[in-house]
């Protein structure tokens, strides 16, 4: 039982009226008490194992041994038979004898080898991102061994919600930390405006302020709204006509069903999930911004999961712990598709920016940031909590102690161990990696068809490479050294280096170095060039970017004060925030035969039906995408600093209903789409304008600007340049000489933005100007800016101009040369409505005038085509371009 002093200070009850003590201070008190609560000057008369006043073993182990020794003397490797993970093993030592002789640093091999600069080995320090032991660290090691070389024997912090000094009962009572409760939809006056139970909650609030829903939007507005909201694309002219002509009672409901069944639904809503997951096709952080060649399989998995309406609980479990759902290590390869998919899903846990493949950015501090980003993605996206503050200190406003942050991070430790790190670079793995290959982030679980196809393509090239490699290996050493200096494209670098330096003796240095300024012979260069060319022709072997346990016992997790790895605090076990324990099943860790089970326990904990956050957070975010604002406006922060829900009962009703309906996202979409709230007009009228100016109560549908992807995709669609092919590797991008980044054309135009490569360092310009987020690490709601560069992009970019000319061509194909029919078609195609009489007159008039002006231009430079018809086509293209620039094209009512 903790001392009262500790309880009071750690819960914040003491000191009175002041700020709560930092966890570092609380920990100091705890250690002081455990050390006998000695007063200044007193000397411990106990067993003498108190480490107060001496070098702290935890400090030595976490900051020196873990960082500089364990890579070769730890879990994966025990070089020379030495394992430094436990005191027993260190005392036992390796082939050369005990590493440590307690009390006698000079007799300890550990000290002798380090002092002689033999350890850690100089040869690998650049490649494996470690550096020598500093003299200060060496002194500390000596001191520690002199004092007996104690190991860090403090048990992990025990967290019992009933006695937790850091989280109080009052903390647990906060609404977002209690399970949602079933609410009955209230009675309302305007019964005739109720289409869905959700409408009751909204109406009740509106009626309190003497407001009501607005009238239903007209069918033409509604069809465009629904198309964009469900698919992110405008309706085609035929689709509009069909809907407007259908006067059956349930025509709208059937439209909603059709839209939800459309593959475009998964693409549009998948993109939102991918933003939340921080999806990108490159690693970021390092200038080279290495491409992630396998990430797209996860993107396709998300789209397919949404389209097949995979229940949200399964959707989460597979993404967090798909590898812990079946013993993949025992499955024969290639995997059955349904099993492979479970590994692909875990790509979710590998999406944060990660520069640790660079040896200059592969140190412990950077690795910890990768883990922190991944945790940030998980907690903000799934739990609606901002825990990032607690990486460095106890959360100031929410009851998330630093301890709980590190308990959460311990769940990831079996896969992301900063002291035993897997590089995200594929270059580090062997070509024949199998399940037992531990030095990779990738798993061999790709579908058989893809594996076979690439194998067939690569077989002859691989034979050629083997042949070239043999010839290169036979070259004299000095020639190979010269060849090593020849610049080689990055993608071929590692493999060519491997061949050229194979068996090469270390380079002679200093005076022994031969002065050789000759160039390699042409034959040697030709061999190298051929090798590079062949290497570049190799297709990447299909693999799965997955998360998985590395096996064995990971290094222990400590609280890191100020988030610094040189500043370790107490040890913690995996766990979930203590504040989420009231009426919530606890985190239940069940070790598996092939894996620790840590993530599966987290996933199962998250999807328990009464979890306070999981369902609320996702229904809120979906609501937000429809109405521009969530019921909780701060969609990633349900804590105390977040905004309280505008309609708490509605949020709870939705959450409970969602879970009871089997976590079906499509059912949720259908309910929202068919509600009166959604079907309202967006017109702003009194008294709503005065009483609800921000539309918090949803007295009308909010007029909204389209997102970046929908804008680009719509331009392509109305120009009939949208390549409908789904899935597969992302389309390449191109940086034009003026710096504009665009997608490369396919045979059929360009594909939807979700299928274009998302390179962190090279965002597509049109998407960037319309607020496509920089995923650092993720984004739950895109901002909507209004800036001049958007106008420049829409007016002057070649994308808009070229697509306007395509659009004009298709309009002429469809309706011929009659100006009135053309204007009508342009409006229908781009704005999904017919022009008014005034607009029709204005448009035809403009067409005539513009055609004359274009003709005068063509007189100056006579074209190959017939002048008059070209002028009319250019005039129509200008009209299309103008309409694509209009506010109406990028706003939905």
């Amino acid at each position: 039982m903790d001392s009262l002093l500790l309880q009071k200070t750690s819960s914040g009850a003491m000191p009175m009226g002041g700020e709560k003590l930092a966890s570092a201070e609380v920990d100091l008190i705890r250690r002081w008490i455990e050390g006998g609560a000695l007063l200044e000057g007193e000397i411990s008369g106990a067993t003498g194992d108190s480490t107060l006043g001496q070098v702290d073993p935890r400090d030595i182990l976490v900051t020196v041994v873990n960082v500089k020794c364990l890579l070769c003397h730890g879990r994966r490797r025990q070089e020379g038979g030495l394992d430094l993970r436990t005191r027993e093993a260190a005392l036992r030592g390796g082939a050369s004898g005990p590493a440590i002789v307690p009390g006698d640093p000079d007799a300890s091999l550990l000290i002798r080898r380090i002092a002689a600069e033999e350890m850690p080995p100089e040869a690998d320090q650049a490649r494996l991102s470690y550096r020598p032991v500093t003299s200060q660290e060496l002194d500390k090691l000596r001191e520690w061994i002199s004092a007996g070389a104690q190991w860090d024997e403090d048990p992990p912090v025990v967290v019992d919600p009933d006695t937790d000094p850091l989280v109080s009962q009052a903390d647990r009572e906060f609404w977002a930390f209690r399970p949602p409760r079933r609410q009955s939809p209230p009675k309302v006056n305007a019964e005739n405006r109720v289409r869905q139970p959700t409408d009751r909650f909204l109406l009740a609030k509106l009626e309190e302020s003497n407001l009501a829903f607005s009238d239903d939007a007209d069918r033409v507005t509604l069809v465009r709204r629904a198309y964009f909201d469900v698919t992110g694309l405008p309706p085609s002219v035929a689709e509009i006509d069909a809907f407007v002509a259908d006067d059956s009672e349930d025509s709208y409901e059937r439209l909603v069903d059709r839209l939800l069944e459309s593959p475009a639904y998964g693409e549009h809503w998948g993109k939102r999930w991918l933003d939340a997951a921080g999806y990108a096709d490159s690693e970021g952080q390092v200038d080279y911004d290495a491409v992630r060649p396998h990430a797209w399989r996860y993107r396709d998995w998300v789209i397919r999961a949404l389209n097949s309406d995979k229940p949200y609980d399964e959707f989460l479990v597979e993404q967090i712990a798909g590898d812990e759902l079946f013993n993949y290590r025992q499955e024969p390869l290639p995997l059955k598709p349904e099993l492979g998919d479970k590994l692909v899903a875990t790509g979710f846990m590998r999406m944060g920016p990660d520069g640790t493949y660079s040896v200059s950015q592969g140190f412990v501090a950077e690795r910890l940031t990768v883990v922190a980003d991944q945790l940030q993605i998980l907690t903000s996206t799934v739990m609606g909590l901002t825990v990032a503050c607690a990486r460095c200190h106890d959360h100031k406003y929410d009851p998330i102690p630093q301890r709980d942050y590190y308990r959460l991070s311990a769940i990831l430790r079996t896969a992301y161990d900063p002291y035993d790190w897997l590089s995200p670079s594929e270059a580090d793995i062997g070509p024949d990696a199998d399940w037992n290959e531990t030095n990779t982030r990738l798993l061999p679980g790709a579908p058989a068809k893809a594996v076979d196809e690439v194998a067939r393509h690569n077989a002859p090239i691989e034979a050629e490479i083997a042949d070239l490699a043999n010839k290169l290996r036979e070259l004299p050493e000095n020639v190979r050294r010269k060849l090593l200096e020849v610049p080689v494209p990055q993608d071929a670098l590692v493999d060519t280096r491997k061949v050229l330096s194979d068996g090469l003796a270390p380079e002679p240095r200093g005076e022994d170095a031969a002065q050789d300024s000759s160039e390699p012979s042409e034959e040697a260069r030709a061999l190298l060039d051929a090798l590079v060319k062949a290497r570049l022709n190799l297709r990447t072997k299909p693999k799965v970017r997955a998360i998985f346990d590395m096996g064995g016992e990971p290094t222990p997790v400590h609280v890191l004060y100020r988030g610094e790895h040189r500043n370790p605090g107490p040890r913690v076990d995996p766990g979930v925030p203590s504040v989420l324990s009231e009426d919530v099943e606890p985190y239940d860790l069940q070790p598996l035969e092939w894996s620790s089970g840590r993530r599966l326990a987290l996933a199962r904990w998250l999807v328990q039906p009464s979890h306070p956050l999981t369902a609320r957070v996702i229904v809120n975010r979906i609501w937000q995408h429809y109405f521009g604002r969530g019921i909780v406006e701060s969609e990633g922060n349900f804590g105390r600093t977040g905004t309280p829900p505008t309609h708490p009962a509605l949020l709870d009703w939705l959450a409970v209903e969602f879970v009871e309906k089997g976590w079906s996202l499509k059912a949720l979409h259908r309910m929202i789409l068919t509600s009166t709230a959604y079907r309202q007009s967006s017109r702003i009228e009194e008294p709503a304008q005065s009483a609800d100016p921000e539309n918090v109560f949803l007295s009308r549908f909010p007029t909204r600007r389209l997102g970046a992807d929908a804008i680009r995709d719509s331009v392509l669609k109305v120009a009939q340049r949208l390549d409908p092919n789904p899935f597969g590797p992302p389309d390449e991008i191109e940086v034009k000489p003026d710096g504009e980044v665009v997608g490369k054309d396919t045979d059929a135009g360009q594909r939807r933005s979700i299928y274009v490569q998302q390179r962190r360092s090279r965002p597509i310009t049109i998407l960037e100007s319309f607020d496509a987020p920089q995923l650092k690490p993720n984004c739950l709601r895109r901002s909507k800016s209004t800036v001049a560069s958007q106008a420049l992009q829409m007016m002057n970019s070649e994308i808009l101009r070229a697509n306007s000319r395509y659009m004009a061509g298709r309009v002429i194909d469809a309706v011929g040369e009659a100006p009135q029919a053309q204007v009508e078609r342009v409006y229908l195609t781009a704005l999904a409505r017919r022009p008014t009489v005034e607009e029709l007159a204005e448009g035809t008039n403009a067409l005539g005038e513009m055609a004359k002006a274009w003709e005068r231009r063509l007189d100056e430079r006579v074209p190959m085509e017939p002048k008059k018809s070209k002028a009319r086509w250019l005039a129509l293209a200008t009209l299309c371009h103008t309409v694509l620039n209009s506010a109406e094209f990028i706003y939905i009512d």
Binding site: P132, Q361, A388, C389, T643, A788
Partner: protein, 493 residues
């Protein structure tokens, strides 16, 4: 603090809706002024009701905002010397290196060396240093032009950072942390202060036509600040802004017809949607974009300068022409009220890993004359006293040789002690602040962190780094975060 984040508190207002013209006259005749006016008019007069329930709505635009206190500088020009210029060869003479020449570094230095396997022994500078100016500050012989301006400059010889690799160190220099998520200092400044000129971008980036610096466009990112605060790349060759001009312009009558048709469409669209001020802002944006085509083209046309001026910047010399042009553009931009100009340089010319002498002379040859010319020109035009100049890279270099072969050696990155200099508005010229150790490896005296440097830059432009706050994910974020940071008052007048 609240005052500048929340427009309500900022300007006195009456119960009457201010006229459109009122606002225009106060915030310039630009788009953002207009958007601001319409947003403000609405916010000011909005009955307190539901809005209060969901927290205050903020307006993010580039309208002028008051600083925290009377600033010394109106604008900042930053010479971002990406790559890591070598302090011991340029600004920080270390004769003692001769004594240790060739000796290998010990285990402690090794922890600060990136290319550890190539580390050679200590290497003295190949250059001589002579006392310059009235202040008698020692400057390397390869900076002859800057030597004439040392009395205008305060040299901080004790700057240090915490990462030895470019990307993280550049992120630290730009945004205060070694990771790529944070807004750059330029974004913070325009977020706080807006811009004096609504026809030009507030935060201009003049990158080198030869290529983007390391970290690419992330150097001037807004991070989680609203995107309106990110830097705008302005090209010094061809069309200055992306899509400022189309590949082929429509015939003028077509353009006029299209513009007036668009204006009518958008006006009608907007009239049916009262209360949507962003629609108004969007309309004004199209007008701004049109004006920008003229304003930006004019601002960046260095041929409007006299031949004498152009020659002073070295536009007549192939070596200096490119950087000189960007320096001259910078002057023309700050003259027009642009808040912040960052000048970048091709790839990594200060990253002198090998052939120190050759590569360092190249970098100095490109930049020395233009920078000195800019200082003189700013003094001539009276802008020097209201413009803060900042020169520095993401780190310096080690006093060691890189490569164990003689003759071709360069220097590896040195984060623990390097020189940054400031000049202009409120900076005490002819000053040397801080010192590195005997060998120029580590800052030991009056150490200045990157956060100190940030605090100092913000201070000169009228901002207190503790009060420059943006709430993101429930956390109050600052450029200086929670790091200790102090204004380097010793170099200020």
């Amino acid at each position: 603090m609240k005052a500048y984040r929340n427009h309500r508190g900022k300007r006195g207002h009456t119960a009457q809706q201010p006229s459109r013209r009122d606002f225009f006259s106060r915030v310039g005749d630009g788009l953002h002024g207009a958007a601001l006016a319409s947003l403000l008019g609405r916010d000011l007069l909005m009955p307190k009701s539901a809005a209060a329930a969901v927290g205050e709505r903020r307006v993010y635009d580039l309208g002028v905002r008051p600083p925290h206190f009377e600033p010394k500088a109106k604008s900042v020009i930053q010479f971002f010397m990406n790559g890591g210029p070598s302090q011991v060869d340029l600004f920080d003479p270390k004769p003692a290196l001769a004594k240790y020449e060739g000796q290998p570094p010990g285990r402690d230095l090794a922890n600060d060396i990136e290319f550890i396997n190539e580390a050679g022994g200590f290497m003295p500078s190949p250059y001589s240093f002579a006392k310059q100016g009235q202040a008698g500050i020692e400057i390397s012989e390869i900076l002859p032009h800057l030597a004439g301006q040392v009395d205008d400059i305060a040299f901080i010889r004790s700057t240090f950072t915490t990462h030895f690799n470019h990307e993280p160190a550049i992120f630290i220099m730009q945004g205060g942390r070694q990771f790529s998520s944070r807004p750059s200092i330029g974004s913070w400044i325009v977020y706080a202060l807006g811009s004096e000129n609504q026809n030009l971008p507030a935060y201009v980036v003049l990158d080198d036509p030869k290529g983007l610096p390391v970290n690419h466009i992330q150097n001037w990112q807004a991070g989680w600040l609203p995107p309106v605060y990110q830097g705008t790349r302005v090209r010094s060759e061809g069309s200055p802004l992306l899509n400022l001009q189309p590949d082929e312009e429509y015939p003028p009558p077509v353009l006029d017809l299209a513009r007036s048709l668009l204006a009518r469409m958008d006006r009608r669209h907007r009239e049916l949607r009262v209360g949507h001020s962003e629609l108004e802002a969007r309309i004004m944006n199209y007008e701004l974009a049109a004006r920008m085509q003229l304003a930006a083209t004019d601002a960046l046309d260095v041929m409007q300068e006299s031949k004498q001026t152009r020659d002073m910047y070295g536009l007549n010399d192939e070596r200096t022409a490119s950087y000189g042009k960007r320096c001259l553009m910078a002057r023309r931009l700050v003259e027009r009220g642009v808040r912040l100009v960052q000048i970048y340089i091709e790839g990594q010319i200060w990253d002198n890993h090998e052939n120190l002498d050759k590569s360092l002379r190249y970098a100095c040859g490109k930049t020395d004359q233009p920078i000195a010319a800019l200082i003189r020109d700013l003094k001539r035009t009276g802008l020097f006293d209201q413009t803060l100049l900042v020169w520095g890279g993401e780190f310096g270099r080690l006093p060691l040789a890189q490569s164990r072969e003689a003759g071709v050696a360069g220097r590896d990155h040195g984060p623990t002690g390097f020189t940054v200099w400031l000049a202009g508005a409120g900076v005490k010229g002819g000053t040397v602040h801080g010192a590195t150790d005997e060998i120029g490896y580590k800052a030991v005296e009056n150490r200045v962190s990157v956060h100190d440097l940030h605090a100092t830059i913000l201070h000169q432009i009228g901002l207190n780094h503790r009060d420059l706050v943006y709430t993101h994910d429930g956390r109050n974020e600052r450029l200086t975060d929670e790091f200790p940071a102090r204004v380097v008052t010793e170099i200020l007048s």
